[in-house]
Every structure is written in C-alpha cells, then in structure tokens.
C-alpha cells in the first residue's frame, strides 16, 4: 500500500469562540494536485497553514512525508525545509534581490556554500523564466514577477510538496496568467501541490481533485469533471457556478 504524502487527521482550529476548522481529515498522494475552493472565511488558508504548522491546530494530527509534524518532539524547522509555501501577499524579502531571495534559504538552512547556492538560485530563476531579473529587488519587479520569484524560492529547497495560498488573488488580472503558467508547468512535472485558489481554469486543467470547503468542513470533493458536471450538493453547484463566472474566463 502506498502511503499518502500528506495526511491530516481530524484537524480542529479555533480562535477564541470562532471555530475555523471543525475536524478536517484529508489524504493526499504523491503527485496529486489538489485544489481547495470555498467561500472566504471558510478556513481554507488556515487548513493550508496547519499543514506546515505555520498555524498550530488545537487538535488533530498532521503527517507530511512520513513525519508527524504535530508531534511536539519533531524539529519543525527541519520538516518545513521540504514543504514549499507560496503566499497570497508574496512576502519576498524586501532587502534582498531576486537571486538572494532564493539563495538565502539554501545557505542558511541547507548550509550550501555560497557559489553553489548562487548557481542553484539562478537555475530556479530560469525555471520560472526570470533569469534576467536576478539582480532586481522586489520593489523593482511586477506583482507577477514577484510571485514567480517566490515560487522559485520555494522550489529551490527541493520541496516534496508545494502549498499555494491564493497565489494570484492579489495580482492584477493581466499578471495572473504568467503565475498560473508556472504552476501548471510544475503540476505537469509531477509536483504534489495543494492550492487554495479560485482559478477554475487552472483547476479544470491540472487538478486531480477539487475540494469544496465551507464553514470549516469539507462539503464535497471529487475530480474536476465530476465536480463541474455533476456535483452532489446544490451548494457546490451554486458556488462553482458563481466562481466560474467570476474567475474562470481569463484563464480559459
């Protein structure tokens, strides 16, 4: 039997009286591209952050690549090295140019010698089509370019899985395409990806599974074909209809 690369078991998270996640269990296999959709405030981002323990769940257990991250004895910094995370608001290191944004993790976290780190960083920039921008600072890049550098930064660590938290939601519409292209390429290369996104074109094209969440629970999940053509719940149909109208067009 093949072990799932990500396993969540009955994850609960609340902030004060607000229950954000009400018992989420999920298994993701290597190479799967899982797209999580759902109305805002539903706990999609919180769920993603629970995977790499950026948010620590109140209860429940998380395994990534065979390591239980919710085990208090686990070295979380070591575990996070191989879980790539891409933020909605990008969060490139503002004082470092594109190249150093990528190489700093290699040097500090993986202990790679500076010349090797530079070489690897340039390679990763090339992978996202930005090798010409190596010397530019975040303030000199467009939103789409910044997000591609952020993806390259995560990829440089040779992640086993990549988590995307609404990577295109803060971008101008005409810049979304270039980021989605990079993500699609990654998906086709076989990367395990969990993406919170409303880009239905992307979901249709590369997702192996779509998960619809609402009010802290998984309402329904299935293949894109099944979810788009024949959702079991009216709520799913209604939501998919709405976001396809809003987000689907420019990527089709």
């Amino acid at each position: 039997m093949v072990e799932p690369i990500i396993r969540l078991d009955n994850i609960h998270k609340s902030y004060g009286k607000d229950d954000i996640l009400k018992g989420i269990s999920l298994e993701i296999m290597e190479g799967e591209v899982v797209v999580i959709i759902g109305p805002s405030g539903t706990g999609k981002s919180t769920l993603l952050r629970c995977i790499n323990q950026l948010t620590v769940p109140n209860s429940g257990r998380v395994w990534v690549d065979g390591v239980e991250l919710t085990d208090p004895k686990v070295d979380i910094n070591k575990a996070r090295r191989h879980i790539g995370f891409v933020f909605q608001d990008v969060n490139l290191f503002n004082h470092l140019n594109a190249l150093n944004n990528i190489s700093i993790g290699l040097k500090l976290v993986l202990g790679m010698p500076a010349p090797n780190a530079k070489e690897k960083a340039l390679l990763e920039l090339k992978r996202v089509g930005l090798e010409q921008k190596a010397d530019l600072y975040p303030g000199q890049l467009s939103g789409g370019q910044k997000q591609r550098v952020a993806i390259a930064r995560a990829l440089a660590m040779d992640p086993r899985v990549m988590l995307f938290d609404e990577p295109t939601s803060a971008l101008d519409p005409e810049l979304i395409g270039e980021v989605l292209e990079v993500m699609k390429k990654l998906a086709r290369e076989g990367m395990t990806m969990v993406c919170v996104t409303h880009e239905m074109g992307f979901a249709r094209e590369v997702a192996s599974r779509i998960i619809f969440m609402e009010h802290g629970v998984v309402v329904e999940e299935g293949s894109p074909e099944q979810m788009f053509a024949n959702p079991q719940f009216n709520r799913t149909r209604e939501f998919l209809g709405k976001i396809s109208e809003l987000y689907g067009k420019h990527t089709e």
Binding site: L54, N77, F85, N91, N94, H95, I104, G105, L108, G139
Partner: protein, 214 residues
C-alpha cells in the same frame, strides 16, 4: 581676536576628544542595550516585555540631568568607576530607553509576512530575526536614530556636572579665567552645531547608501 584663535579654540578643543568619546560610548552602548530591549519587547515573553515597557517609560519621563545624577550615584555605590565611565554609562542607559522605542517601532514596521516566509523556508526564529527582520528594521530606523544621535551629542555636555572635562566644562573654565563668558560659550555652541550637523549628514549619507532599490 587673535586670542580667540590662539587661546580659546585650542583650549576648548582639548575637551573635544572627551566629548566625542562620551558621545560614541553612550550611543554605542545605548544601541546595544536598546536593541536587546527592543528585541525582548517585540519577540520576548509578556513579562519581560511589560517590565521593559515600564522601565523605558520611567526613563523617558524624567529629565536627563536628574537621571544622570541618580545613575551616577547608584553606580558609585556599587562599583568604583571614574566620572568619565560612570557618566558615559549613565548616558548610554538613558539613550537605550529612547533607542529601544525607535528600534521597536522599526521591528514592528517589518511586516509579519517576512517572518512567516522565513519560517516556511525552515529558518529558526533567531535566523529570521538576524537575517530577514533586522536588516530591514535597521534601515528603517536610521532617520529616527539620527535624531537620537543628535540628542546624545548634546547630552554629552551633561557629564559636565560630574566634573568630566568635556568642551562645555572647558568653556566654563575659560570663561572664569578670562571673564569672557560670551565668547567662550559661543565657541562651544559652534562646536556642538558642527558635531550635530556632521552626524546628521553622515547618517543621511548612510541611509542613502543602504537604501534598497525600488
């Protein structure tokens, strides 16, 4: 007139080295203490953060001359320091309270996302603070810090009351000896102005040099 250039100025300038030393020591030690306090306030536990908040508030609420005298006699009761060192250390402690506030603001101005991004790469909190947060925060802090530097340049004159022979005390001696207080104090005023002016200019140049492009 020749007396001003042959007598007064050389005499006051013999105190310049002391003024500069007191200023640099107070600013430097004040920076190290202030930075430690700011880091504890922002990243430390609730208890340490509250204690530091109260202490820095008290320091900032009292006249510097009063604090200097209090600190001087407190230090003198514990260790035997020369007035020069006791004075410099006292000024450093006073300045650290202000620098703590400056640096705290600068640390907080770096968005929380920077820390999160660093942690997702697997950096420890300490690595993230040192390599991601501090380089950005210190750049942010330069303009406010430059203001504090100018204040410390001027506050170095306070060690006068401890008998440390810096430029103000030298001017005082000169005035007592020659009965020309006005000339003496004007000369000292010019020296302070130049010191403050050059400090600010130097720090502005540093700020421009370190500015992140874009």
């Amino acid at each position: 007139m020749t007396e001003i250039f042959s007598g007064l100025i050389p005499y006051i300038l013999t105190g310049l080295q002391v003024t500069l030393e007191v200023t640099v020591l107070a600013l430097g030690m004040g920076f190290l203490i202030g930075l430690a306090l700011a880091l504890l306030r922002v990243y430390g536990g609730k208890a340490s953060s509250s204690i530091i908040a109260v202490v820095t508030m008290v320091i900032r609420a009292l006249p510097h001359i009063l604090l200097l005298l209090l600190a001087y006699f407190a230090i003198a009761a514990v260790v035997n320091l020369t007035p020069f060192w006791a004075g410099s250390l006292s000024l450093a402690i006073i300045s650290s309270a202000y620098q703590c506030e400056i640096l705290r603001g600068a640390l907080l101005s770096v968005g929380a996302g920077q820390m999160m991004a660093a942690r997702t790469l697997g950096m420890t909190r300490l690595q993230a603070i040192r390599h991601i947060i501090l380089p950005q925060a210190l750049r942010q802090a330069i303009p406010a810090w430059s203001n504090e530097a100018a204040i410390v340049v001027k506050d170095s004159s306070l060690v006068y009351v401890l008998g440390v022979p810096e430029i103000l005390r030298k001017a005082q001696y000169y005035s007592a000896r020659t009965y020309q207080p006005f000339t003496a104090f004007i000369a000292v005023a010019v020296v302070y102005f130049l010191l403050t002016f050059l400090t600010n200019r130097g720090l502005s140049a540093l700020e421009r040099k370190l500015r992140t492009p874009g």
